[in-house]
Assembly symmetry: C2
Homo-oligomer: 482 residues x 2
């Protein structure tokens, strides 16, 4: 019935139980020595031949089973051996190098998604760097002890690894709904903000249409728009956020049916949509018969005063689709967020979401439920606010002290980033490259614009570095500016 | 700077610390009584008014802080109150019902994605049902104790909730690579099979092109194809899997550049691509200058003999893009899988993946690493094989005993499902509805075809029910067949 023997099937019944452990106490050099010996041995065999059992290796080389497991894993990772669970470890068939991939270029066609900048932003910096990029809180600002305890508890609960409805765990939908002030039935759980954005763009606009984005805007929104086969069109902002007059003009000129905005502590500018513009923006969107995607990622990252309510609360006809996420105020790997929508748009979103990833891991949803219901949550937010204030103030003071030609515009009342304008003529991309050579990781402003930037900028994140590192960073940046 | 006071900001400094706990010992009726009392109280206040502090409620009503927390959470979920962490609980502004959503229908345009069937398949059946649908293992077949321990350990590790490269945790890429027999650099970690499929379809074909799918095929592939703006075109299969002659003809007629196939224990048919067809299929794909997406979800679900090696191993020019996942052999909420690709296609895939969800939760990846490195993994697979054999044999025996007009074609050597042909004239969708009224949940065959089905079928899953339930299920089905 199954005519293809796997490699080594003919070698009989020897079984190899691989015991790897991350709590391994054996040292790296013994693993390395054993891996070397086994590599030599494998080289003398044919592809498909079986290696000796773990027990045999233990007794032959006088090492622990843990060392054997780690050495075999290393050989597996480098492609020397293949482990078939429950059967044994076999010499891998050498995978031939690719012979002809030119055909792929024709088959793939033109590249619609450019994530070059997003890719750089997502790189995890090595040790010793002063990190003023990153869209996430530094490790020491995350409630890691709470998360460890809550996760251990959630993972023991019956059904923790089972199925969950595609719209999300009912308790989590209710918890999000309570925070936002909407009905639980309007909430769909998503795998973080990017996943929600990606689903929203795909669901809310026919393909090949323009989508209006604030200028500057979050570069992940640009990638998500491209991936949804939409054409990003910029709409200028000022210190009061999106400009309603130009928004109306952009709708009229392009025929777009969708605008993406961050009314509260926008990334990268930190601006808040002014009170007098809120109704005007909603009126323009209604008049255009369009959707507004409100990305409210920074609601829990308020430093000064209180955050304005979501635009969503003033929406009467289902124009606003709302997005929030726990990756920003909690931790990058708590990849749980919420989309809020009403009317046929909610059904369309749900269909796109199902086709995209079926449902979000129940375990992560259970951890989020624990968090919302715990006194640790308001405690974390209070502590976070104080820490963000200290770091923001340290960074702003450092910029004013060390970088006289650089303008902070404006000092953000929340969020994670300070958006600064560089002196005329400075190349922001080159500056970021030079800073990197001094181990200062900053984001150039250019990738945050989908058209010509009005001036050179940097995005400086204060949430990903300690106050001391922030101070050292502006000192080093001073050496790179004219 | 932030001119919008949130509701109740004027009510001053009273703070409400909400103490919820999932280990709550207070009983539901006291929560219900308190919720009722607070609901009345909220009704007498204005939107934005602050509720008394938790402490005040405790002393006024003589209940525990846990009961207060749960009652407030209930009021929050129903939209009566809004909790602002660290600030207090306020009477929610009543959200007006939608006034006019007809504009949405125009803005959304025609529905490109139909997930009606997928939605039904994803419904979590209530208690007391005999579940012969579901694409996942029953709870008792999942290694839940191992997962609980591994998760608790992973969640305590420093950085467990931090960032991770978009392509995945290096150790996990290496572990997948070792299992599959490829280089770790060719592996991208994805959030389960559906997410990988969705990314592959979007990355590998220009929009609006046809994509070839086996007939019948996994309905999630149909939805993913639609969501990627591709047009699903069926290619017939027989007991030896995909028919190379008709595959060649379909490429020629449609100009498609992409075929999706499950060579090993296909869902829903259970068939394996025959040895003599493997090279022929690859030759047809190469001649068409096309990609083949190999969905290898069932590799670890082998019952009889051994599974043939992946088609990927015979690929010399980067035509095969390979997909595997841990949700099927482990648990639905271990939403971790792997995509394998080489050449420019790998870069295109990575870009689409980044735009879709940035990266997969590090915690889940750490759990997967633990699993691959543990002796519990081969032990689980051995036990699983025995359990699946017992359930498959019980189901097949039940069909042969109770359902004389129904043909099992063929008895699957692995996977989760038996695909049966119904007597001519039976309506499979109606039959599934009638079975549901007897608490037997089965999948009609029609949604697994994108064109006219050749005969009525059912997909009967043996992995989601106990042997006793399987026996009872065929007995009940007998009463619904002519």
């Amino acid at each position: 019935m199954l005519p293809h023997p796997t490699p080594g099937a003919s070698n009989g019944a020897r079984r190899l139980a691989i015991a790897l452990s991350s709590t391994d106490m054996s040292n790296d050099s013994s693993v390395g020595r054993l891996a070397g010996a086994l590599r030599e041995r494998a080289a003398a065999l044919q592809p498909g031949d079986q290696l000796p059992s773990s027990r045999a290796i233990v007794s032959r080389y006088g090492v622990s089973p843990v060392t054997v497991g780690r050495a075999l894993a290393r050989l597996g990772a480098e492609g020397t051996v293949v482990t078939e669970p429950g059967r044994g470890t076999f010499v891998a068939s050498r995978r031939a190098p690719l012979e002809d991939v030119a055909w792929q270029t024709v088959a793939l066609g033109d590249a619609r998604v450019d994530t070059t900048h997003l890719r750089r932003l997502l790189e995890v910096p090595g040790p010793g760097k002063l990190v003023l990029s990153s869209g996430y809180l530094a490790d020491d600002l995350q409630p890691t002890r709470f998360l460890a305890t809550a996760t251990a508890r959630a993972a023991r609960r019956p059904g923790a690894w089972g199925r969950v409805p595609p719209t999300g765990l009912p308790e989590l939908r209710a918890a999000f709904a309570a925070t936002i002030g909407v009905d639980a039935g309007d909430v769909t759980v998503v795998a973080g903000g990017q996943s929600g954005l990606s689903a929203a763009f795909r669901a809310l606009s026919p393909p090949r249409m323009p989508v209006l984005l604030e200028a500057p805007t979050y570069m992940g929104a640009v990638s998500a728009a491209q991936a949804a086969d939409l054409r990003p069109v910029p709409v200028p902002t000022d210190v009061d956020g999106l400009r309603p007059d130009l928004l109306a003009e952009a709708f009229a000129r392009t025929g777009a049916g969708l605008v993406y905005t961050q009314p509260t502590f926008a990334n990268p500018t930190g601006t808040v949509l002014a009170a007098h513009r809120r109704q005007e923006v909603l009126d323009v969107v209604r008049a255009a018969g369009a959707f507004l995607v409100e990305d409210d990622w920074a609601r829990h990252l308020v430093i000064d005063g209180v955050a304005p309510p979501p635009l969503l609360r003033d929406d009467r006809d289902g124009h606003v689709v709302y997005l929030t996420s726990l990756t920003k105020p909690v931790a990058p790997s708590l990849r749980v967020g919420a989309l809020v929508a009403r009317g046929p748009a909610a059904d369309r979103l749900a269909a796109v979401r199902r086709a995209e990833d079926l449902f979000i891991s129940r375990l992560l949803q259970e951890v989020a439920v624990e968090l919302f219901g715990s006194p640790a949550w308001p405690r974390h937010l209070t502590a976070l606010r104080a820490a963000l204030r200290e770091r923001r103030d340290t960074l702003v003071a450092g910029i004013r002290r060390d970088l006289p030609g650089v303008t902070v515009t404006p000092v953000p009342a929340g969020g994670l980033h300070v958006w600064v304008r560089l002196p005329p003529g400075v190349d922001d991309v080159e500056l970021a490259d030079r800073a990197a050579r001094r181990d200062v990781v900053v984001e150039p402003g250019r990738p945050y614009f989908v058209a010509e930037p009005p001036a050179p900028h940097l995005r400086l994140t204060y949430a990903a570095a300690t106050p001391a590192d922030l101070t050292e960073a502006t000192r080093r940046l001073a050496g790179e500016l004219p």
